[in-house]
Amino acid sequence: MTKSVKPNPIVDMMDKIGGAAATFGNDVCFFICFLGELAKASLVLIRHPGRFRGRDMLYYMDLCGSQALPIVICICYLMGVILGFQFALQAQKVGAEIYVADGVGFSILKELGPLMVAVISTGRAGSAFAAEIGTMKVNEEISALETMGFSPVGFLVVPKLLAMLFTMPLLIVFGDFAGLTGGFTVAVTMMKLTPVSYIDRTLEVLLPSTLTMGVLKGLVFAAVIALVGCMRGFQAKSDAQGVGRATTSSVVSSIFMIVVADAVLTRLYTLWGY
């Protein structure tokens, strides 16, 4: 027992891989339980609508929606500019400048708009959710909620989830327009395309369904961000470092899950012919 064992790098590595796999398995189980709790809490709230924390939801809508708007517009606009540049460089080689409108339009609406908004919301909202719930756990506020007969999930998660589901689509619409404007700026200033021709081309190729499909993706991202953020908060160890770690892992896991969800959704969309 006391005999020191020589560290074997392979055993060590296996140990780490096994540990990581176990953690992952635990997280998956925890997430499934969490979803079950959420379903149960939602049913209770439907039966007792008076218990729903409407004011909290408005607070989070402000936090995750209106307060995020400037940064969303700014980043999406720059994203549009960057895409515009890149597409312009390629398009100029073959003299097909007008297709920049297609490139920017589709990339922003289908992928980058929703994705950028999701990443921003993860950093802003998801981490805030994890930190808030984690801190409440440290202060025994979660225990207090329970002994007052509240389901912590119903009380804390549902308002956040709904706020995200309501604000995310709006943010994406704003982000999309900002992105398109970015592409437009590059097209008219750098490539000498006329504003009218660029706008015409954009309207011609982009269908309302293109926008809708992107926004629908956003709903999935919103759910991922809210749920992962809250789940990490509940998982936090009851100390200050625990809250810090929960916040970090909420950002990492939700970005990972967003990208996975995006890949799956993109595949599904192509199967359905979009």
Partner: protein, 260 residues
């Protein structure tokens, strides 16, 4: 409904701990209606842990806890939440919801579980805050309160629904002697006026002798109850030196393992 006549809390053969780590085991006691019951023990023996398991926050390793004659261990969640609403709990650090004002904290259970109108709720909030001497604090955020004030605000919140049973973790820790005596008097008054049964976790000797009728004394090595009964009798007549010393505050030279 109450099988053992007049017993509000029944704990039977309870073992508690975290992740398989046993903190306390074989805990059995009952709290009669209208009693002020003390759970005593040194720091870290697991008093708060025992309390948290008794109120259904954690599932015990084994054993049974009944509150108002109903098991809080083996019951469906909705049932458990309904039972939890019937008693109040005050935590060691107050556990106020930091995003709401003190008044909103106290109002929360009233808003959720009663059909009272706004003015009636406001009146009750004022009444409960006055009871704990925090009249002016309704619109203050918890972060702006001192530790003792938080604890009193937590008590006001625990009493919001006028429960017949109160659990109180360390009522007097962090309070000055005068406030602490006032709090003790408040607890006595609650019992006299409303017949509230009160379970307190404490190591304040003044409170123990001042207000409790019965105490259990927990010990870290034995991981269980080492003495039970009237604290005054235990102090004067306990055969165990350690119990005697704990209650007379003479240091901890005699571990109970050495006692015969």
């Amino acid at each position: 409904m109450v099988p053992k006549q007049g017993m509000i809390v029944e704990v039977e053969n309870l073992s508690v701990g975290y992740e398989g780590n046993v903190v306390l085991e074989k805990i059995t006691f009952t709290v009669p209606a209208g009693a002020i019951f003390g759970i005593l023990g040194g720091s870290g023996v697991g008093k708060s842990t025992l309390l948290k398991h008794m109120i259904g926050l954690y599932p015990p390793l084994c054993g049974e806890v009944k509150i108002f004659g109903r098991s809080i261990v083996n019951c469906p969640e909705t049932e458990k939440y309904r039972l939890m609403r019937r008693f109040g709990v005050t935590y060691q650090g107050g556990a106020l919801f930091s995003s709401m004002t003190v008044g909103e904290n106290v109002a929360l259970p009233l808003e959720t579980y009663t059909n009272l109108n706004k003015s009636e709720i406001a009146r009750r909030v004022q009444e409960k805050l006055a009871l704990v001497d925090l009249q002016g604090a309704a619109n203050v955020m918890p972060a702006e309160l001192s530790g003792g004030m938080k604890k009193r605000a937590g008590l006001a919140r625990a009493m919001a629904l006028d429960p017949k049973l109160l659990f109180f973790d360390e009522p007097s820790a962090g309070l000055d002697p005068i406030t602490s005596v006032e709090l003790d008097e408040l607890l006595l008054r609650l019992r006299a006026q409303f017949g509230t049964t009160i379970v307190i976790v404490t190591h304040e000797l003044a409170s123990i002798f001042g207000i409790t009728d019965t105490v259990i004394l927990l010990d870290k090595q034995a991981k269980t109850i080492v003495a039970e009964g009237d604290p005054r009798k235990l102090r004067d007549h306990s055969p165990s030196l350690w119990v005697h010393d704990f209650l007379n505050r003479q240091g901890y030279d005699h571990a109970p393992a050495n006692q015969e």
